[in-house]
């Protein structure tokens, strides 16, 4: 590990794991984490927030008789951490009282040390440089058009040092550096207000936000917000549609990714339960989750349980091939962790999460897709999405779009909800573009938010329901 001027003595997590084992835990895991972060918020050219902070603490899990105890301690005090270990074992025992069946927590030990190679370590970049960057984004957005009413720029960098140890023998140390910037623009004209959003983010330091794309996102979002001022409400009902890469990426994450999380499957909350090996879409559809892609926002080398990250094919040529696992779901389903056990931070237990999830590129050009649409909708940009995996229905929100008539964009459309069912939607994808693009974001599940990337090329969908107002 590179020696860093701020390097400190890390707590002895192994000793805490041994203590949990001696108290009767069948499996135990101790994570210590220290997260240093800087956050800047600029609104309409005023620096509203210059915020630096440190979160440090222990997250301790114990497994007894089929149930889990999890205790969190804020701060780095090792003797208090020893008491938190006792608490975790006590909690697990109390929880196991109502448990009718158990299982054995298995898995291979994992060990290693990893450190994000940040070319511009955020701890060594002067705060004035970060302020200048946010101000420049503000200025470039403001300069686009007089109708730009409100410009919001946010910048966040985090440096997370982490130590993970468990009773399988896992010993992992890592330092993860992530940097992200986002711009939200509101444009106003004659009683109408519209907004647009752009963000960049990745594993790495200040260099992540020094790309051409990052420096242009103020202008890009401002142009789109102004453009939306002339948009009409979207129509309601089923339409043939082209989804842009941003929206298609969120769509595959929401509509399909969540149903492939093995904890949802085990909880009988996934419509994909028992469908491995079944056809779930057309042959042109390939979906992957890959945390090993260099530099992406959802990338990592080891997950929060210390398991090594690896690429998974969730759907191959239209056939469901794999679920995503953490140590627990893998133990219960007789397989190995896929390195998808992630936690927001030490105050949450690792659960099954996606990383960088995307539709693999196909061989269509975007213009070729438009030529296929006589009457339909081009939906673009993403606001959010969610899914009901038990029922198999999903919704995602497009920032806006265009009505397509005879292959041409004829009318600008506003924000609209798109809904469908998991088991039908992939069968309705009739073309996949060549232009794979990635977008950073945060995914929430059980109150935990983790950095992810969604990705996709443009896709053509034969039929999808729009929840418009006309």
């Amino acid at each position: 590990m590179r020696s860093h001027p701020q390097a400190r003595v890390m707590p002895d997590v192994e000793r805490l794991v041994e203590r949990a084992e001696s108290l009767g835990a069948e499996f135990a895991e101790v994570r210590w984490q220290r997260v240093e972060s800087t956050r800047l918020v600029v609104v309409d050219g005023t620096l509203r927030e210059l915020n630096t902070g440190v979160r440090e603490g222990f997250g301790i899990r114990a497994f007894v008789g089929g149930a889990w105890g999890f205790s969190t301690l804020h701060g780095g005090d090792e003797s208090a951490a020893m008491r938190a270990v006792e608490e975790a074992v006590r909690l697990a025992s109390a929880a196991s009282k109502l448990k009718s069946e158990s299982f054995k927590m298995g898995g291979e030990p994992s060990s290693g040390t990893w450190e994000t190679r940040a070319r511009m370590d955020p701890r060594e970049v002067d705060i004035s440089q970060k302020i200048d960057f946010t101000m420049e984004l503000n200025d470039s957005a403001r300069a686009v058009d007089q109708r730009v009413k409100n410009v919001n720029v946010a910048y966040v960098d985090t440096v997370s040092e982490e130590r993970i140890a468990n009773t399988l023998g896992t010993r992992v140390s890592q330092e993860i550096v992530r940097t992200r910037a986002a711009v939200q623009i509101f444009a106003h004209e004659a009683g109408t207000t519209e907004r647009a959003f752009e963000s960049v983010g990745g594993l790495g330091g200040f260099e992540v936000v020094q790309t051409d794309k990052a420096l242009a996102m103020g202008e890009e979002a401002a142009r789109r917000a102004v453009d939306l001022l002339s948009a009409k409400s979207a129509p309601a009902g089923p339409f043939k549609a082209i989804l842009d890469p941003k929206l298609a990426g969120v769509f595959i994450h929401e509509a399909f990714g969540h149903a492939c999380e093995a904890d949802e499957v085990l909880a009988k909350m996934s419509i994909l339960e028992g469908r491995i090996g079944e056809r779930v879409g057309r042959e042109i559809v390939n979906v992957s989750d890959d945390p090993t892609l260099p530099g992406l926002y959802g990338s990592y080398a080891f997950d929060s349980e210390g398991s090594r990250a690896r690429k998974k094919h969730l759907v191959r040529e239209g056939v469901l091939t794999s679920f995503m696992h953490n140590l627990e779901t893998a133990s219960r389903m007789g397989t190995v962790s896929t390195g998808n056990g992630r936690a927001t931070d030490y105050s949450h237990p690792p659960i099954v999460r996606m990383s960088n999830t995307f539709i693999e590129p196909g061989d269509w050009g975007v213009e070729e897709m438009f030529a296929e649409v006589r009457d339909g909708i081009y939906a673009a940009g993403s606001l959010y999405g969610y899914t009901d995996p038990a029922k198999g229905e999903f919704v995602f929100k497009a920032e806006g779009g265009w009505r397509i008539k005879n292959g041409e964009r004829v009318e600008r459309l506003r924000e609209v909800a798109i809904t469908g069912t998991i088991l039908e939607i992939l069968h309705n994808i009739s073309a996949v573009g060549r232009d794979l693009q990635y977008d950073p974001g945060h995914c929430g599940k059980f109150g935990q938010w983790v950095p992810v990337t969604t990705g996709s090329p443009h896709i053509l969908v034969e039929r999808v329901v729009f929840g418009g107002m006309r």
């Binding site: 210059l50 907004r195 919704v395």
Partner: protein
Amino acid sequence: MVDLLSVGEDVVRRAASEGAEEAEAFLVTGRRISVEVEKGEVKTARSEILSGIGVRSVVQGKVGFAYATSLSDALDVAVKSVKNALASKPDPHFKGLPEPGRVSPVEGLFDPRVADLDVAEAVEFIGEMVSAASSKAGVVSVGGAMSASSQEVAVVSSRGVSLSEKRTSTSLYAFVAARDGEKSSSGFEVNSGRFLGEINPSWVGSQAGELASTLLEAVRIETGTYPMVIDPLTMRPFIGFLVSAAANGENVMYGRSFLAGKIGQTVASEGVTILDDGTLAGGEGSASFDGEGVPTRRTPIVERGVLRNYIHNTYTAGRMGVESTGNASRSFDSLPGVGSHNVILEAPDLEVSNEDLFDLKRGVLLKLTEDRPNLANGEFSGMVYMGFLIENGEVTTGIREASFGIHLVDLLRGIDAVGREKRAVMGTISPPVRVREVRVAGPS
């Protein structure tokens, strides 16, 4: 126990000695436990010792902020916040920290039974919920969680604010899946509040189970315009959003909200009044003072259909030339934002019996949506996550694959009746509300 006020005072003094002209410490300590259920069995029991401190310092009109989770770092945090203020840029709209106000304690914010709740007791509550849910036909899986937390928050400032308060909160929710052959459905219910007595586990379980069970029979409906009854369970994206986001002083001041500049305009049906109330005894969103130590109050947002007020913290109020409404929202790791307390819908003139409320030839009952409106233009397009068809005055069958679209103002103006029974759910208090016309899209 740590004396938060004395730590806060030390911190404020330290910031001053580092050169801060004004300084404010926000501190929190407490404890939280929770029990999570999977497939009807307890999966995880959790406990967390909460702690955090955030310090805001002002130097020459420049504001800096720093935080830490460890109270033993409190003085370092003070030093860092001054350093950040020095590195920052002047904010011409920052008019200073708030002066101390007259705080009258709000009753019913702390329940020792919640503060002392043991995991074993929570496990019993969960057990009751699970058995009630499992008894319903078709239920294959019961998920959910119960949590109980107790916090002491303190605000101390160089202006003389020195306040602390203990508050508890607890919740229990159920998320249930049902299956019958190829048909699948889900159901949801929640109880939450400041008192353990507000949690009724068997009611939560049986409501969620019943919902999932009845939604197994669900039809697709035609795209069209329907009257819609909105259940109090899902008022958050409607009236909750209206107050916390659209009438949020910060969103209004920056022109982000469709309600900006609309004071005095009619935004709801004449019989409808919507309030934000931080002083309601025992209210889930109540507090004696807000995140900056400003006393909370009762603020009419919409009065008999007319938009009257926005909600503010000290910064947004100062910039818009009004008084803070005591709506500074806060966590220890960031500057104050603006947030709602208890959002209450009152429409006494529109109250009817449930029989009359559902007296529709053909309509939709919306039980749950997780969507929210567009802040900029007010349009609300979302999924009918859980909903039913109303036919000839009866709730007859579930609906599936449906979405709806309406402008939030059109929705509020279209309210033509409300039920008699109000329900408090996660910060909103409302009866069921009927809206004359909503565009609903089905797959055909």
